[in-house]
Amino acid sequence: MGDFSFAYSIWIPLIPFFTFILLGLAGHILKPRLAGIIGTTALGVIFVMSLYTAYQYFFVYGMVDGVYQKIIAYNTTWLQFTDTLHIHMGVILDPISVMMLVVVTTVSFMVHLYSIGYMHGELGFERFFAFLSLFSFAMLGLVVATNIFQMYIFWELVGVSSYLLIGFYYQKPSAVAASKKAFIVTRFADLGFLIGILILSYITGTFDFITITDPNGAAIHQGSGTAFLGLSVMTWAVLLIFIGGAGKSAMFPLHIWLPDAMEGPTPVSALIHAATMVVAGVYLVARLFPVYYFSAPEALHVIAYVGGFTSLFAAVIACTQLDIKRILAFSTLSQIGYMMLALGVSGWGDHEGVGFMAGNFHLFTHAMFKALLFLGSGAIIHAVHSNYMNEMGGLRKYLPITHLTFLIACLTIAGIPPFSGFFSKDEILVAAYHHDKVLFFVEYFVAGLTAFYMFRLYFSVFWGKEPHYHHKPHEAPATMTIPLIFLALASIFTGFIPFTELVTTDGVPFHAHIDWGIALPSIGIGVLGILGAMVMYRRETNLPEKMAANLKYLYRWSYNKFYIDEVYLFITKKIIFRYISRPVAWFDRHMVDGAMNGMAGLTNLISFKIRGFQSGQVQKYAFVFVTGALALALVFIYLWTN
């Protein structure tokens, strides 16, 4: 590490925190535009700091003896319970955390900049920026967490800020419902996370990531001997932790909150529900990857299949939705499924660990192009004032920049070279091919579906028949188009970052080549999807209706998101509420409250009976006083003489 100190990196999370305090407390006296500029400037500063850190880490000081080191840049004891139980707060720098720093600050900065234009004139503009800063703080704190407990704290903070931002339009009942749903579902998942943390720290005796994940250390092998219900205790612990990750990353079956979370402002969707927060689950698994790989390979299989299933499931739903943000939300689910799958099929070391690399690579590229897609959709919504695809069409004439950037993003997500999505997806497919053929073919299919639904969206919005607009759609202001252009460039070029050299399982770089035997069919499938979408949606035809009619049941199920929400509602409303909550509520209302009300009523009754004593007649009081004094005198002089 040399004589260079990374200690300044503590300021990367702290600056947004202070911005949050400033905007949260003094926001209402600032001019909205100034508040926006403050927030954006702060993010710009930490964006530059993160890039600098990444440069210093990856290219100058990070590698020692050919291995990327895990550097504790800053550490402090935050809570000291006992000598053995204390909780630290700090900053860890290793390949994935540095990568995440870049991802989070880049997207966050772009979203801040974009929000100045997008949220212009909204009520609570400065509140919005305060929450964005809070979110950035929480997310960065999560990313640089040195121990699992710090991660958990920031994990919850991220959940809170997500809740606040989804419910930003708090006058809208649907937004309120969505924010509550998101919070409750992720909180429910975090219960698993917490239990997992407790088990994990109990069996390893530490919270510290470096100690836990050291493949040669003692901690990682603890608890693999003890079995519970057929799986080792360590497996249970990491599976429970994965439930937390699945909740945040909206893996099936905990995905139901993410589509609804699109009720929040579009920049929020781009930042939180596409690029950063929802990949926290992926990051969590990546962070604990050695534990999964060495102590709980069964858990890795679970992750791979959950990821694979979610990607397929979400892609199918995305093909039938009409709300463009929901399409993107399901697309996000699908892509996160990819990442989870990549981690799940990964091995350890060199080429074996290509899945791990690919998962992180895809996380990186996905953050760029999905943020771009969301911001682009924000620009569209801004222009058209609608979320629904069937109220759009022919927009390419009106929104040239948005159109171009959106097209780039669609090509990227469809996996067309030379855009970045091609590279990362290809690595995932390679990893899956070597590990599990079933998942591999599922992902091929999903790649095609992805291309199809993205270009369905693209053609419907920018081509197709032009509906009647109330007023002519116009291009977004510069604050909105600059982030679009920046992210478009990022989407094009991030694919050339040599991730195999930077982010690997054991910190040792390796070289990988594009396996054209896998890549070419993947491109072919992508092109096929695009062509299918083009045929069906470029011009107005009746093909989509025909398809829908042919696949009647599939279409309807997909359109209704496979009725997962209804299943949840059935379980909660019909079963939990009716058979558990209602009797409990009855007991509370009649027994507990009854007892309390009875006591109060009794007191009241007695008070009314005896209030005559309080007659206001001084002489009555005096009489009672005199007789009382005499009685006391009698008692103490004659009766109680000893």
Partner: protein, 170 residues
């Protein structure tokens, strides 16, 4: 019976008799007058005990001050020709029972107690002694209670003015 004993009996009889009249008389001005008699008889008792200064204070302050004050306030608030209506029987009976019971209790207690009375001559209590004692902070000095009571009197005077003053707003 010696003269001293006769004097004591007379004072005692006057005190008890007029006390009872004070609390039972149905004319308020008469009650005040009977109170005056009681207070004067009490002053007589102090004379009897050779406490001349105490007796003088009793006459000037009580008989001269308080009773006059009371009579003034009677004249301010009552029609002196009015007679009080009879007090309700129940109230009289219960109050009398309480008072008699209390008296019996106290008197039996007093009679059971054996007091070690001395025959020694009393210390002379003239103005000189009293003045020195009131201003003395050593043994037999009462400067602290004297100061406290003077503050209390001041406070009472101010508060009496404040309470009785007509408020301007009404």
């Amino acid at each position: 019976m010696e003269l001293n004993e006769i004097m004591f009996v007379i004072f005692g009889a006057v005190i008890v008799f007029f006390s009872i009249l004070t609390v039972t008389s149905r004319r308020i001005l008469r009650a005040a007058t009977f109170l005056l008699f009681v207070l004067v008889a009490t002053a007589g008792l102090y004379f009897w005990l050779n406490y001349e200064f105490m007796a003088a204070v009793q006459v000037t302050l009580y008989a001269g001050g308080i009773v006059v004050l009371i009579i003034f306030s009677i004249l301010l608030t009552s029609n002196i020709n009015d007679r009080f209506e009879k007090v309700a029987g129940r109230k009289v009976i219960f109050s009398a029972l309480a008072a008699i019971a209390g008296a019996i209790l106290c008197i039996t207690t007093i009679l059971q107690q054996e007091f070690q009375a001395t025959e020694a001559l009393a210390r002379e209590v003239n103005m000189n002694v009293i003045g020195r004692s009131l201003m003395n902070y050593g043994e037999n000095g009462f400067v602290l209670p004297f100061e406290v009571i003077s503050v209390l009197l001041l406070a009472a005077m101010i508060s009496a003015i404040v309470i009785a003053k007509k408020s301007k707003s009404k």
